[in-house]
């Protein structure tokens, strides 16, 4: 099915209109809508284009969607240091309610990449998602935090970036370009996801030599599909390279084909 594209509508929603969102509507009636939960920090910027492409591809198939920014990220209110894991969960629920209101669809699919995928998995019941599609979700927060801390330390010494090495103090309290509160650091390190309460498709684009962290989710019924080419998320050489993944868009459209 191909619908007449409708221009995405930017606006604010949520408590005190603090959250920025772009609603990708469709002309005809829709049964299902997709909430696109972004990753955090630099992953959000790197994947911005692929999220836009996905939203437009969904709209062309007659599936409305909402892209949004968590409080303290993107165009939403708040400073970057104010990003809070629990607030992000509340924001995702507010975004789900906003999408239902705008699209008229009760059936929502939650989509998220990296920490956005983790959030979707955690919020599935509260946001009343009928189905989840998650892209390289972070399921072991402590390992993820350790990786980001190590990369941040490498960043300040990166001779490709700085003429002279920077001090530990200059780089303290940040993850790859974004300030991180001690609270968020602790919250993300506590993330551990081993089960899912709704039908879940995991799109795995991590390199093949990465240990399979999704086994517990698979044991609980989640399906895993590998994506090619692989996505390199944590590499200083690619820190400011856009993540492009036509395979991701094809996989999501394929999964939602029946729903549309």
């Amino acid at each position: 099915m191909s619908e007449q594209p409708v221009p995405a509508i930017p606006g604010y929603f949520g408590v005190d209109n603090q959250l920025f969102g772009l609603f990708h509507g469709v002309t005809g009636p829709a049964q299902t809508a997709v909430l696109l939960c972004p990753p955090f920090g630099q992953d959000l910027i790197r994947s911005h284009r692929v999220y836009r492409q996905l939203a437009e591809a969904l709209a062309n198939r007659g599936i409305p969607s909402l892209r949004f920014d968590y409080f303290g990220s993107g165009d939403s209110s708040g400073n970057s240091i104010e990003v809070d894991w629990l607030r992000c969960q509340a924001d995702a629920q507010a975004a789900a309610a906003e999408l239902r209101r705008r699209s008229g669809c009760h059936r929502l699919v939650g989509f998220g990449g990296r920490l956005g995928g983790s959030l979707v998995l955690i919020c599935a019941a509260a946001a009343e998602f009928s189905e989840l599609i998650v892209w390289d979700p972070v399921v072991h927060g402590a390992a993820y935090v350790a990786q980001l801390d190590a990369l941040q330390d490498q960043l300040r010494l990166d001779s490709m970036r700085f003429s002279q090495p920077r001090s530990s103090l200059d780089a303290a309290g940040q993850w790859l370009g974004f300030p991180v509160s001690a609270r968020l650091h602790q919250q993300v390190s506590m993330v551990r996801i081993a089960s899912t309460s709704v039908p879940t498709l995991i799109l795995d684009s991590t390199p093949q030599d990465t240990p399979n962290e999704f086994a517990p989710l698979q044991a609980g019924g989640a399906r895993v599909t590998s994506l090619a080419p692989t996505t390199v998320w944590n590499d200083l050489d690619r820190l400011e390279h856009a993540v492009l993944s036509p395979g991701l868009i094809r996989a999501v459209l394929s999964q939602l084909g029946a729903a549309a």
Binding site: P10, D16, N17, I45, H48, D75, Q164, R166, D170, D237
Partner: protein, 282 residues
Amino acid sequence: MTRTQGFTEKAFRLGRAQHLIGVAGLPDKPQDGAGVGVIVLNSGLVHRIGPFRLHVDLTRQLNVSGYPTLRVDLSTLGDSNGTQESLSRRQQVSADVADAMTLLREQSGCVRFVLVGLCSGAGNAHIAACTEKAVAGVVFLDGYTYRTVGFLLRHYLPRAFRWASWRRFLLRRVHRQQVAPSAADFGHKYPARAEVSAELRDMLERGLKLYFVYSGGVSDHFNHRRQFREYFGRIAVHKHVTLSFFEEADHTYVLAGDRLKLVRSVDQWLQHNFPVKPSKTP
């Protein structure tokens, strides 16, 4: 619309074909009609929030200082679409900036504008400033720069006998071969120096105020304040030209402290060159 202490942000679809997406920041206390609005252009392919959210930090600080702002995605960048027009890139950039100025004029009442751009954004700001009469100033972040004899001496002489420099040189060569050719990076090309110099002279004759900010991230092209005069000559000492060199910082200000220094610097330059005059009407 979202309200924060001292200003309000509104999101818009704008432009002659309603093809652009932008977020305007409007101070609670409006300026008088002679005030300037600030428009921040995309840096490379990064959408309007800027590298590491630099454009959000910058525009909100300027809103607190009393300047209306617009961070906008130009045609096909970020969340903006293209148009069906048959325009050259320069025409398209100028038309998009004109659209952005129209929106900010409608929202804030200001009729003069300062453009801010980093890297390719500086190039686009330069293009628009050449033709758009409402542009009163430009902040070029790592804008055009040209290697000079002085640059080469400062760059190569100290390095010739240092092993670390050779190692870095070789690493960069390998890095470019391995990563850059296959990846979507944010590079751009410079026009000829004579062409740029002539255009800058024209801007200054029209009364524009120009702020050039260079970072250590372009040390392969710029390595000393003196170099600015080496390639732009008398333009460099014009009373409406200001230069800053943040040698420690990288090209996209990845460290929060470096971003803060940059934001404060742009804010101070604006307050010095385009002081905010509150409106007399309540």
